[in-house]
Symmetry: C2
Subunit: 478 residues, 2 copies
């Protein structure tokens, strides 16, 4: 009998780890099925699973409402005759927008240009120019199936041999380590400073580069996540300038993950500046690829799979190579491309949809900022917990000190201590968070990441608090 075994497969794939959908998420899914199928006799100490493991605002249970404008445009793109059959139902600007897009795209059932619909790329370029004050070239923009698709493409392109390294922040979003593992590249970690609001330090990055070089690794690129994931931190312009100069000095490509650029809870003290703007302001020739997405912000349109990356100071022959690579998979989903267009061209004052759009986006922004503040304040009151009050993105990344007996119990169970804690939290409360070991942390430290998306914040944080106090007590206190 002939069977296929794992050891016959690409060995690099065996090293891929992606904690956001790993052990905790799989267990949570099992509980969800149990709750659904067993009815009242489920025997669990909770009645619903809260998936705080992933920034997925519109999922059932979180139910962040979609922006009506986006969905109205998308519905008309699906079935254009609706504009006639139900014309009183749609605002005038929505109908006009859908007609304009239809004229450019044709059917959403057709493959588009592999790089994305030219008209939409043009709109993205205008959005970037308006944001930064510097021109943007639509031919240097690639629409993608979410930012992740762009990141994996760029990393797989930059890893030219198994000694190629890419600098990644610690803690990081595990897409980066997973993609490096899949492509047999080396992750070169640089640590963010938790005591300084998870600040990025150019000297620390430089030390990491020097260390890697001493080990025979060739650093090819530097990843910066700004606003940070899982930290929510924002880089100030002086730090960004230092990072750009450092990349120039070491011949690194800068990969700027800026998908949370509109999730800002303290705009006056912690504004967002794009790396594109900093590179242009410095007159730098640094090769830069900047990623954005429709999955975050207040759209939260994860399921459409839409995003883009912009190439700055990347030569035409490399642009042509990227085009060739993306053409093999034909095109990004049209639903995502339309989402990108709605993101970069929201209703303007005077448009019929503007008032509703403003109300919806303001409400979601305010709720997220409020929840983040409440949650971090209350988590900081707990014994052994310290939590940076995140000024951006969708997450908190509290640090937890654990009783020695808990660490011992975890080791006995063959788990990392923070995984052991997170599994306990899930079993007790139905809340699924991701242990810090999935994002990276200093030796002997423990964290977890949770989203600030849950609507009933009191109940949510209340459950976290009760579990934490009980856990600390069960293992003999701190």
């Amino acid at each position: 009998m002939h069977t296929l075994t794992v050891d016959a497969l690409n060995p690099a794939f065996l090293n891929v780890q992606y904690a956001v959908r790993g052990e905790l998420a799989i267990r949570a899914e099992e509980y969800r099925v149990q709750l659904k199928t067993a009815g009242d006799n489920h025997g669990l100490p909770f009645n619903r699973v809260i998936s705080s493991n992933i920034g997925n605002p519109q999922q059932t249970g979180l139910d962040q409402p979609p922006i009506t404008f986006v969905r109205q445009v998308a519905a008309l793109m699906e079935w254009p005759v609706l504009a006639e059959l139900a014309k009183d139902v749609f605002p005038a600007d929505v109908i006009a927008r859908a007609k304009e897009l239809q004229a450019e795209i044709g059917s959403v059932g057709a493959y588009s240009h592999s790089q994305g619909v030219p008209f939409i790329r043009n709109n993205v370029a205008n959005f970037i120019q308006e944001r930064d004050g510097y021109p943007s070239n639509p031919n240097h923009i690639f629409l993608t199936a979410g930012a992740s698709a762009g990141v994996t493409l760029l990393i797989s392109m930059l890893i030219s041999n198994p000694r190629s390294g890419i600098l990644i922040p610690i803690p990081q979003y595990p897409l980066y380590t997973a993609t490096l593992a899949a492509n047999s590249g080396v992750g070169i970690p640089y640590h963010l400073d938790e005591d300084a609001e998870w600040a990025t330090s150019a000297p620390d990055i430089e030390a990491a580069i020097e260390g890697a070089v001493r080990e025979g690794i060739t650093p090819k690129a530097l990843v910066v996540i700004n606003p940070g994931n899982p930290t929510g931190a924002l880089l100030d312009e002086a730090t960004m300038q230092n990072v750009v100069r450092l990349c120039e000095r070491y011949g690194l490509v800068l990969l700027a993950d800026e998908v949370y650029q509109t999730n800002l809870h303290s705009r006056s003290t912690h504004p967002f500046t794009s790396f594109k703007k900093v590179v242009r302001a410095l007159g730098s020739s640094l090769p830069l690829v900047s990623f954005h997405s429709i999955s975050k912000g207040v759209m939260g349109e994860c399921g459409r799979r839409g995003g883009y990356f912009e190439c700055t100071n990347i030569s035409d022959d490399i642009i042509a190579l990227i085009y060739k690579l993306v053409s093999v998979l034909l095109c990004p989903p049209l639903s995502g491309q339309i989402g990108v267009d709605c993101m970069v061209r929201p209703p303007r004052q005077g448009d019929a949809s503007y008032a509703l759009w403003k109300q919806e986006t303001d409400t979601t922004h305010a709720a997220l900022a409020q929840r983040t503040k409440t949650m971090s304040a209350r988590l900081n009151e707990l014994p052994g917990v310290s939590c940076v009050d995140s000024p951006g993105a969708l997450y908190l990344y509290p640090r937890i000190r654990l009783p020695d007996a808990a660490i011992e119990a975890a080791r006995k169970a063959g788990k990392e201590p923070d995984t052991f804690y997170a599994l306990g939290l899930l079993e007790d409360t139905g809340i699924c968070v991701i242990p810090g070991s999935g994002f990276g942390q200093k030796e002997g430290q423990y964290h977890y990441r949770l989203t600030c998306l849950c609507p009933g914040v009191d109940e949510y944080v209340g459950a976290l608090e009760r579990f934490h106090r009980k856990f600390v007590e069960r293992y003999g206190g701190l």
Copy 2:
């Protein structure tokens, strides 16, 4: 100044070739822009570009109409309140279907299960069971962003080192050679027999395997495209059984690309049988992965990016590995997943939408079959052209004999002779076809692939005929 150069990048990517969106398609796109921007003074000998290079039925100019049922369901999924606001506009079964999907999926703006919505996978399993008469396990099904995403994943998983080989038919769909190149795997070609309607021969495959082994290549898998692309050929069951036995004997995984399974023009003489059915009927333990898509058939919903693959005789630890890999990119687009659900659960007799669905699908099937027959008959009348009357898929792959002077002129221009011919056709008529060198052919033979999707078949074939006669004459005849 620091610049990024191509030679610093993944060297495997430089070898990727994808003719379907290559030189011809890029030139065609330039003509399209020229026609659009220059108005009446475009100076070209044609007024529109006909993109016969790619199976993209709904693209502008081809305009195969989408199936109304699919788009109505999709529109309601985008903006569910439409079911109330415009209830007279939607048939009852569409409203019921959308409500059912909403209850299972929640918002289409949320990430789904990384493997695809469980409810939709369950519907796919029922569809497969109904088609084949053998059970299908929804946990062994992965929804994908088109079949291509699944194929690239499987190939990248099966290539475990640079001596790993995968058998591919010649001619082939260039996704396979492109993905092999990107993953530093070796393509092991086996030739289809043009004189026997592009038949697949197990002995020829065996000879290719033996030859590869002698060169130190380890064959890992065999790709079969059925119905064929670009050939349109269908495998009979006896051949399929031989192929299964051969894969068993050599320990190969069988990758069955069955995306054209409903594009059948001669069902009585050339029916479709799935490899899943053959493997089960033989009681074989052969590892098999079967691919399907919503981009082809009569849906032609390419832009949604939807498809699935089913794993047969693949162990649970490998399923878990695949799950881990797909989870890094979070989930396939919901628009594609909804398309898959509509494909596997079309309206049934008695449903309000059934009559329209039947009429639309029958019309598209008939038009495609008719065009294929007309085109192959007329192409066969041309001097030096022979063309198998394709019983399936969306293409013809005529063989062309070229005058010696034309071959000489091509060499002087630094082009393959069939590329030279196809460029001439594009320049003269605006029709974009893909030369056989992009799909593979025997040394000294020339072909091109064109789609049978163009609505005005007389005008279309007329232009092909005029160009061919003129070309042959210009280069001194045959």
